[in-house]
Amino acid sequence: MPESTLPSTKDFPSAARYPMKKSSAADVTALLGAFCFFLSALEYMVPKPLPFMRLGIANLPILLATDLLPLPWFLALALVKVVGMSVISGSLFSYIAVFSLAGTLTAALTMRGGRKLFGRHVSAVGISILGAMVSNAVQIAIASVLVFGEAARLIAPPFLIMGLVTGTLLGLFAEAFAGKSRWYERAKALLGGTEEGRA
């Protein structure tokens, strides 16, 4: 584990002060949220030409949660990811948080909506691609208003290609993980899964 380069919550003294209530949905949400932070930190270390536009790897736990968490907890997970990362990186008041919020929420809502619309006729791959494409399109639109002006359209194609590629890869991983993971199986049994996921 590359622990020396990642921020640690030893820096967050208040974190250890909260009792862990044994509420299954809250526990699963908190655990998946932690993985969102971890993957965000990993993603941060990958050099990008546009540092504030996310690769989307950190949305993997949200993708897994699409069939796992009830909607309120699913949305809470998305917010935990955005707010938690904004506090860790100190970017809460910056445009970075705006991109994070827009990108994460649209990805989450699209993935959830896609599952509701297509049910079992689509796998995690399709859902993931939908989420990534819509999320990246929204971020480009925001970039054109806040940062780049009309020139934002020039970065649209490479950014969308990236969305298609990472969406596919994340979807493949999620499908494989959901099929193989004992933790996922236990969590699903505990939570009963979602209606669409159960079909």
Partner: protein, 215 residues
């Protein structure tokens, strides 16, 4: 050299965190950010940006001048691609126009400025309120465990190893807080800020709004 810089930064950070209560600092930062967003004058924006940079340095947060320059250049360049206004200079196919240049510089200042004021005003000990705050805090605890994980996650066996990690975290019982810890926690939240720190925050907020009325 690097470790000495790190030490100095850690010292600054400790001093900064000891001087302010998290919520007051965050509120002041939010108020200043809003004033900054409304500031139309490029020169005043530049002055505020410089102040934010200085304050972020004081707070002991990591600052990357090269990243700031690189991103800002990118923003300015992108805005120059659509020419607007009086032609100032022509660099080959790129026409540098006054309006586009001012737009680009303005946007870059806002983008980077907000990052620095945000870094200075968000303390990691910021406790978010309510059940949502508790959820975020629980995530932080799990995150800590992930970073401290002593087992290996091999790329060739990514799914199995990640699954092991998740099962390990899941089966751990995270305990309830100790009485004395609770006390320390509450006292840090309700700690009174020093007079100098409070005055500094008030002045900073007032100054950022006063600048809105300057031409």
């Amino acid at each position: 050299m690097r470790s000495r810089n790190k030490e100095r930064r850690a010292t600054r950070r400790a001093a900064w965190e000891a001087s302010f209560s998290p919520w007051t600092l965050a509120t002041a930062g939010a108020a200043i950010s809003i004033a900054f967003l409304f500031q139309r004058s490029i020169s005043l924006r530049a002055i505020m940006f410089a102040c934010f940079l200085g304050v972020a340095w004081l707070s002991g947060k990591k600052i990357s001048i090269s990243a700031t320059v690189f991103v800002s250049l990118g923003i300015v360049l992108a805005n120059l691609l659509v020419p607007v206004g009086k032609v100032l200079y022509q660099l080959g196919p790129l026409v540098i126009t006054q309006g586009a240049l001012e737009d680009g510089i303005g946007k870059a200042l806002v983008f980077e400025g907000l990052i620095y004021i945000s870094k200075a005003s968000i303390l990691p000990s910021l406790k978010l309120p309510g059940r949502f705050g508790a959820l975020v805090a629980s995530s932080f605890v799990y995150y800590d465990r992930i970073v401290e994980y002593k087992g290996s996650v091999r790329p060739a066996h990514l799914i199995e190893d990640a699954d092991e990690l998740m099962l390990g975290l899941w089966d751990e019982t995270l305990g309830t807080p100790q009485g004395s810890d609770r006390g320390a926690e509450l006292s840090s939240e309700t700690r009174r800020m020093g007079g100098a720190a409070s005055i500094a925050l008030v002045l900073a907020v007032l100054a950022s709004y006063a600048l809105l009325f300057l031409k």
